[in-house]
């Protein structure tokens, strides 16, 4: 029989206490970095809680956006000049110098829009509901969410309380 999974949220008054609790959870309950998440109200240096480095592909988004924006800018400028083929001073209808600025702005707009989309996508936002969470996190508490099997719940809770958790809240597993 497969053990059911459950999540626990421990609230710690300081980052040091949360980091200590995570060390204890790894040593005594075998909790791996894949099984925990840390919730804070401000950014901490990467690796402060022993979490895995964040893997992302954000840098692809601005490049893809810039290419799309460049294409749209190119089509827009060529298209409008072809639609209104007004010859001025005997110069070619499709005038490249006059197109450059609109193409440039289109490229940058595409890059910015795709970057925003990339940030949301890579941050896994928007999320429907906040999941296992506590508003006290925004008051400075550090939340440690551990997703574990139901047979380890009591051990995880005990380790969190021993490490100084101000409160431990049980909830459904991550992703549900």
């Amino acid at each position: 029989m497969v053990a059911q999974r459950q999540s626990l949220l421990g609230l710690f008054a300081s980052a040091d206490a949360a980091a200590e609790a995570l060390d204890q959870l790894e040593a005594k309950a075998g909790v791996t970095p894949d099984e925990f998440d840390v919730l804070t109200s401000s950014p901490y240096p990467e690796g402060a809680f022993g979490e895995k480095p964040v893997a992302h592909r954000l840098y692809i988004f601005p490049i893809a956006g810039a290419l799309c924006g460049f294409s749209v800018g190119l089509l827009l400028t060529i298209g409008t000049q072809m639609a209104y083929p007004l010859i001025t001073h005997g110069k070619p209808v499709i005038a490249i110098p006059a197109m450059l600025i609109v193409i440039y702005e289109g490229t940058m707009l595409g890059a910015i829009l795709f970057t925003i989309l990339g940030i949301l996508f890579e941050s896994r936002l928007p999320a429907f509901g906040v999941g296992l969470y506590d508003p006290r996190i925004s008051e400075g508490y550090v939340g440690v969410v551990v997703s574990t099997t139901s047979d380890k719940v009591s051990t995880v809770e005990r380790i969190m309380r021993d490490a100084g958790a101000a409160d431990v809240i049980a909830g459904p597993p991550r992703g549900s």
Binding site: P45, V102, L109, A127, S138, E139, G140
Partner: protein, 456 residues
């Protein structure tokens, strides 16, 4: 940065969300006052639309005057925000923390206000649609899609969209705090806008990268926008405008007036919202030092423009500079402009006591912007007013009451926008303040204890 009060997360939440979650009585008074100021501009525009462009003092050849001056002024102000925010984020300057959002918000409202001006200048703004879908095409009136005037909307649209999204993306963590600290409809409202933010390491990492990446993307746009605004003039064949120095001259002028506007705004925010713990004299000191650099750079370009105008000894150029400096009423305006844009503020900013005085920084920054508004006016109107060869119809320009109304109303609109934003969203980034507490530590250097900042 020697001053750093130690604040708990709870205190930061309480102080920075106080105005968002509670409405003091003075808010309604200020709202009414700004509403009246904006109303003056609104009435002026309604009168213009119902009566026609004749109610303005513009006449051939001065068809651009107060409105384009105001347009350039507000585009200039809008440059402060992103320039300060983006460059300080990229350089990880610690003093950016209380400044960035107010500067970014000023960018968005100043730019949106500026963007209204060309539409208002059209007289019947619904005719703007004909520029996009020219119905007169079959009658032989063709739009010139290669005109430099097409570049402006594309640049402003990119800058406005980029700046607005920039603000929103870095606002998400603070919206989550507002969600956690509010009840009822506010909780739902902030909950929707926060998009389910939890604050895990992945989200914070992406948030930090967002600030850097978007700063890198938006800085070139910021430079391009005011360069393109300068092309509105420099690409024309009007003597006095047709100058190769205009693009950098406009950009640096925009930064000069924009950073000054941020200093003004910071002083007002500190006074209104009692943000003494967050906006401190050392922040004004830093802004003052930045202003000193930018002010001198701007003056260098002003001198370049002046020398380029006179060096070729071209008759019309010399005549326009003569009109700017010696002829009534531009001579008086020119003296006021020089005094307020450079001669008074720069020596004042050299004094540490002035830079660290909120009142003095407020007054100095106001002086700069009076000067920079006049700079644009003096740049535009005398050049148009100069009677050129084979020009048989010309007049002098006298601004009329509806034009004054539009200018005053635009100030009301920007101030109203910033006030309403500050009422709905935290105007100082909450998570940035908390981060500064996390990354700060007291360090002993000999017998002195100084705050040190850990940097990733």
């Amino acid at each position: 940065m020697q001053e750093r009060p130690v604040l708990s997360d709870r205190q930061i939440n309480r102080e920075l969300l106080d105005f968002v979650l509670h409405t003091p009585i003075w808010f309604w008074g200020v709202l009414l006052l700004l509403g009246l100021v904006f109303g003056a501009g609104f009435i002026a525009v309604v009168y213009l639309i119902s009566t026609g462009l004749g109610v303005w003092g513009e006449n051939w050849p001065v068809m651009w005057a107060f409105e384009i001056t105001n347009f350039v002024f507000w585009v200039g102000i809008s440059h402060a925000g992103v320039m300060i925010s983006a460059s300080l984020r990229l350089t990880q300057a610690e003093w950016r923390r209380p400044v960035t959002r107010a500067a970014e918000v000023l960018t968005v409202f100043a730019l949106a206000t500026a963007a209204l001006h060309p539409a208002v200048h059209a007289g019947r703004f619904w005719r703007v649609i004909y520029w996009v879908f020219p119905y007169d095409f079959f009658r032989g009136i063709w739009p010139n899609v290669r005109s430099p005037l097409i570049w402006d909307p594309s640049a402003i649209f990119t800058y406005l969209t980029g700046s607005s999204l920039f603000i929103y993306s870095v606002l998400i963590p603070d919206l989550a705090v507002a969600r956690d600290r509010s009840t009822g409809w506010r909780r739902k409202f902030y909950g929707i806008l926060a998009l389910g933010w939890r604050g895990n390491p992945r989200q914070w990492r992406l948030q930090t990268l967002a600030g850097i990446l978007l700063s890198g993307l938006i800085l070139p746009v910021f430079v391009s926008v005011h360069s393109i605004v300068s092309f509105d003039f420099a690409m024309a064949l009007v003597p006095g405008w047709h100058s190769t120095v205009f693009a950098p001259y406009f950009v640096i002028g925009a930064v000069w007036s924009g950073v000054a506007a941020v200093a003004t705004l910071m002083a007002i925010l500190r006074f209104l919202f009692k943000l003494h713990n967050y906006i401190r004299p050392d922040h004004f000191d830093a802004l003052g030092r930045l202003l000193l650099v930018v002010g001198n750079a701007w003056f260098y370009f002003f001198i370049l423009d002046f020398i380029f105008g006179l060096f070729a000894r071209e008759e019309t150029e010399v005549a326009i500079w003569q009109a700017r400096i010696f002829e009534w009423p531009f001579n008086v305006l020119f003296i006021i402009f020089l005094l307020t844009a450079y001669i008074l503020p720069v020596p004042l900013l050299m004094m540490r006591s002035v830079r660290r005085s909120v009142t003095m920084m407020f007054l100095t920054s106001m002086l700069i912007n009076i000067g920079m508004w006049l700079e644009r006016y003096i740049l535009i109107v005398p050049a148009l007013q100069y009677k050129q060869a084979f020009q048989f119809s010309w007049s002098t320009y006298q601004p009329q009451l509806p034009e004054w109304g539009l200018v005053i109303g635009s100030f009301g609109l920007v101030a109203l926008g910033v006030l309403l934003f500050a009422k709905i969203f935290p105007i100082i980034p909450i998570y940035e303040q908390k981060e500064s507490q996390v990354f700060a530590a007291e360090i002993k250097v000999g017998k002195a204890t100084v705050p040190g900042v850990i940097r990733e």
